[in-house]
């Protein structure tokens, strides 16, 4: 292993964590902007260091484990959440050379697998907390997972078929002509919805559901364990945004600016879109989400796979 690869491995999680922390501030400022108020603007220039202040505070909070909780699993759950998200970043190619394992041959499958594992964090947290709200949240997470996990994979199949590879480098390379968002607009829409559901973001934050479940699956968590769920959620936004960038928006491709800039720009726009979604849309009931998933999005993504396959076959023959 070369030194530079070693540094990338050390640096990537740090950058992601820093980004996720800053994102908590960015989100609050943007929500403020869209709700005609300011949001945190006191600590540092424009409130920039709010994230640092919050982080410091949460580090010094009492980290309490309820006596009725299942200790081992309770401690494990946030670690799983954090780990799966961070591991997923390993295969995201920022540019041709940047990224840890950008051209892993099953990169996309790896990400999907990690996202699948990420659900365990929520479900186990809900289960081990041994309290009704947490359990309800965990149950909803499971229900949500079985409805989005299926069409999430299927919606990505279109991209895989067009690129002919699970390798994320190859997928970006295949978008040299036209970004996949144009031929795969259906898949893009479906994947966006699945991505929102995957990160438990509003409008699909059913496992959390502050106004009906207290805080859902992390009701019993405090201190840095809660902080880990929180940071993992924001890292999840960055992950899904960078995935969308890689799969549908042509990754690092773009004129004039350096590739890394293009990647950051597209990811940033996606992140802002995520926050806009939170600012504007109400949360559906979870049976509505499941109905949407199974009755509309699954057929749609199957249709997308079929259409893509047909066109590819016609073109080949």
């Amino acid at each position: 292993m070369t030194y530079s690869a070693f540094f990338t491995i050390i640096l990537t999680p740090l950058v992601i964590l820093g980004l996720a922390t800053v994102l908590t501030w960015v989100e609050r400022r943007l929500l403020g902007l869209w709700q005609d108020r300011y949001g945190p603007n006191r600590v540092g220039p424009g409130g920039m260091f709010q994230a640092v202040a919050d982080g410091t505070k949460i580090l010094f909070k009492q980290d309490w484990i309820p006596p009725f909780a299942d200790r081992g699993v309770f401690i494990l759950a946030p670690a799983i959440g954090m780990m799966t998200v961070l591991l997923s970043f390993a295969v995201i190619p920022v540019t041709m050379g940047m990224g840890i394992a950008g051209d892993m041959n099953v990169g996309l499958l790896f990400v999907l697998g990690m996202m699948g594992l990420g659900v365990y964090a929520v479900v186990l947290a809900g289960w081990s907390s041994n309290s009704k709200y947490a359990l309800l949240g965990g149950m909803r997470a499971a229900a949500q997972m079985i409805s989005y996990e299926v069409f999430m994979g299927l919606s990505l199949l279109g991209v895989v078929m067009m690129a002919g590879s699970f390798n994320l480098h190859d997928i970006v390379a295949a978008q040299a002509g036209v970004w996949f968002i144009i031929p795969q607009c259906l898949g893009f829409g479906v994947f966006m919805l699945a991505g929102i559901a995957q990160t438990h973001r509003l409008p699909f934050d059913l496992p959390e559901g502050e106004n009906e479940l207290g805080a859902g699956f992390h009701t019993e968590y405090s201190g840095m364990k809660f902080g880990m769920f929180f940071i993992a959620e924001y890292a999840g936004i960055v992950l899904v945004s960078s995935l969308v960038t890689t799969l549908y928006l042509g990754g690092w491709r773009g004129p004039f600016l350096p590739p890394a800039m293009w990647f950051a720009l597209k990811t940033g726009v996606m992140i802002i879109f995520f926050i806009l979604l939170r600012a504007s849309l109400p949360r559906p009931r979870y049976d509505q989400l499941m109905a949407l998933g199974w009755k509309i999005l699954l057929p749609l993504s199957l249709l997308n796979v079929m259409a893509t396959g047909t066109i590819l076959m016609l073109r080949a023959s």
């Binding site: 403020g32 869209w34 709700q35 005609d36 108020r37 300011y38 806009l276 504007s280 849309l281």
Partner: protein, 170 residues
């Protein structure tokens, strides 16, 4: 679907709206004169204390945060001490309504935060101001019927002199 997109668009448009926030410490909000904030004890136009220690404010106070003691000097009543515990006061203004002399008044000032709770107990020295507050011309002893040094019985405003019982003249 379409209305979802419309919602997104309308929310995004809010980025260009004016923000409703008042940036408080730099930008003070306008508080009307009758705002119910920090309580003061006022003086009448002659510069004497208005409060006659009648205890009506202490009775009216729903949280019992006013405490005072009557004393007499120069033929009239004064509060010997007058104490308001602002850590309990709910700024309801009942004391002001109960006061027959307009002595106790609420003012448009609310910036009275303290780090230590005992500092919120205001004594008469802290409460008494040198002005008349919201009622510049009112003087209780000029309209009340009781005699005080310098004003005899019947010498108040809108008061006739008392009837002389020993006189036969009409």
């Amino acid at each position: 679907m379409l209305d979802t997109l419309r919602t997104l668009f309308l929310t995004a448009l809010h980025a260009f709206h004016r923000r409703a926030t008042v940036q408080y410490p730099e930008q003070k909000p306008y508080l009307p004169p009758r705002y119910r904030g920090r309580i003061i004890l006022s003086r009448d136009p002659d510069g004497a204390e208005r409060c006659v220690a009648c205890n009506l404010c202490a009775v009216a106070c729903p949280v019992d945060c006013i405490s005072l003691q009557k004393t007499e000097a120069d033929g009239r009543w004064y509060p010997e001490y007058f104490r308001i515990n602002f850590s309990r006061c709910i700024f309801c203004g009942f004391c002001e309504e109960a006061c027959p002399t307009y002595a106790i008044q609420l003012t448009p000032d609310f910036e009275m935060g303290e780090y230590a709770r005992p500092n919120l107990v205001y004594e008469k020295d802290d409460l008494l101001i040198s002005g008349t507050g919201k009622y510049p011309d009112y003087s209780f002893y000029h309209v009340a019927g009781i005699p005080v040094p310098g004003k005899d019985r019947g010498a108040s405003e809108r008061e006739r002199p008392p009837v002389d019982l020993h006189s036969l003249l009409p």
